[in-house]
Amino acid sequence: MRGAVPWESPRPGRYAIARWEIDPRRTALLLVDLQEGHTQRDLGWGARLEASHSEIAAYYYGRLEATVLPNVRRLLAFARSEGLQVVFTRHGAQLPGGRDLIPWHWQAQRERQGGAGLLRRGSPEYALRAEWAPREEELVLDKNTLSPFNATPLDQCLRNTGVENLLLAGVLTNAAVESTARNAGDRGFNAMVVEDACATFHPYEHEASLRLASWWVRKTSEEAIAEHSALLRG
């Protein structure tokens, strides 16, 4: 079962870990903030983006619908069929008035300005996309931070369930996904960001985030599935 997968790309002048051995049974799929309000054109961000930043809305929802969501469906079906741990995060205010957000934080500012971007726990926007339908044995973690390592029992749950490797997907690539990948890699998990299962507001940010990966690596969903399949069959 254990086996090496391609790891870092060569970097000029720098030692790179070309391959890294993992145990594929110890991989979890972590789906970051793929909630209704972050993925539906008419809910949460969607309603506001269309009005205030129509170019961003066109790019973001176009990429989600054409690329990201189909790949997440494939990853989720694969993880479930192989019995890999699945973890979902949900992002937003945990209390109706957002009092749980640190008061001077930018999100609270947004809240005070009447912004529609903040999802409130219990609202339809806050819910995971209905199609994910999390199962009893899958973790759903609520957070009011970008990285779940900063304010959820994620680290504890992963270590207790024996997870060593993470496949990360979700939104936004350079915000919540990257912060999560940075924390995961920094804490010694083998973190793999599935690049075609992530999206952010601008192509430049998406590419810059992935190009500069440090302590985590990028994979396409095809690579992630093929590498894991090969090891799991081995």
Binding site: Y15, L101, W104, N174, R187
Partner: protein, 229 residues
């Protein structure tokens, strides 16, 4: 309390906040990994020295981070880090930096004073392997001015996690450095949108200086005889 420009120049990120209210006396300087062994640190000693002098002059806390391993053989680092951290392509073995090893200390130009905490970490982000959050809260800090090296690694990971913990983080564009200019730019770009503010050294000192002066005029400092009453 006073208002400070935050993401005022950002119009391409939904949810950017133009200005926020801060308590300027609760601002600390967080100097990331400006250690003697680091060639990168040499590029930004001067702006760091100026900020250090400004914070000390105003009696605001300064906190230093140092990066390395806790043990000489780096057993305490995670496996991939132990194998490749700071290692050049042709290094037969990875370099080791740990408390007591040559050049591990903060560079001489920025030498810490006895009452300035120096916090060691064996990870990229300081919150992943140190009691930094505890120190910052104990010092009563709400706002952090973050400088040091390298921008897209230790500085960015630490600054992202500080913002996640609710600190108002100002990343200093010309007091941070990394070898790849595109990486510097990408860090500042994303940070100024999703995490906090990005300002130049002069701007930080001017804006914070003005807020502190306003504060001093309103509230006489404790034990001060010169403050207006």
């Amino acid at each position: 309390m006073g208002t400070i420009a935050w993401q005022a120049d950002v119009d391409d990120w939904p949810g950017a906040v133009g200005e926020i209210e801060i308590e300027p006396t609760r601002t600390g300087l967080l100097i990331v990994d400006m250690q003697a062994y680091s060639a990168l640190a040499l590029h930004v000693v001067e702006p760091n020295r100026r900020l250090l002098e400004f914070f000390r002059r105003h009696g605001l806390p300064v906190v230093y981070l140092r990066v390395g391993s806790f043990l000489p053989d780096a057993r305490d680092q995670h496996a991939k880090r132990r194998l490749s951290w700071l290692r050049a392509a042709d290094d037969p073995v990875p370099p080791r930096h740990y408390p007591g090893s040559g050049g591990y200390d903060v560079c001489a130009e920025l030498a810490p004073l006895p009452d300035e905490p120096v916090i060691d970490k064996n990870s990229t982000g300081a919150f992943n392997s140190s009691a930094l959050d505890y120190y910052l809260r104990a010092l009563g800090l709400e706002n952090l001015v973050v400088t040091g090296v390298s921008t897209n690694h230790c500085v960015e990971s630490t600054a992202r996690d500080a913002a996640d913990r609710g600190y108002n983080v100002i990343l200093v564009s010309d007091a941070t450095f990394t070898a790849d200019p595109q990486a510097q730019e990408a860090t500042l770009y994303t940070f100024a949108r999703a995490f906090g503010a990005v300002k130049a050294t002069d701007q930080v000192m001017a804006e914070l200086g003005a807020l502190l002066a306003g504060e001093a005029a309103r509230v006489p400092a404790r034990g001060s005889t010169s403050a207006p009453l």
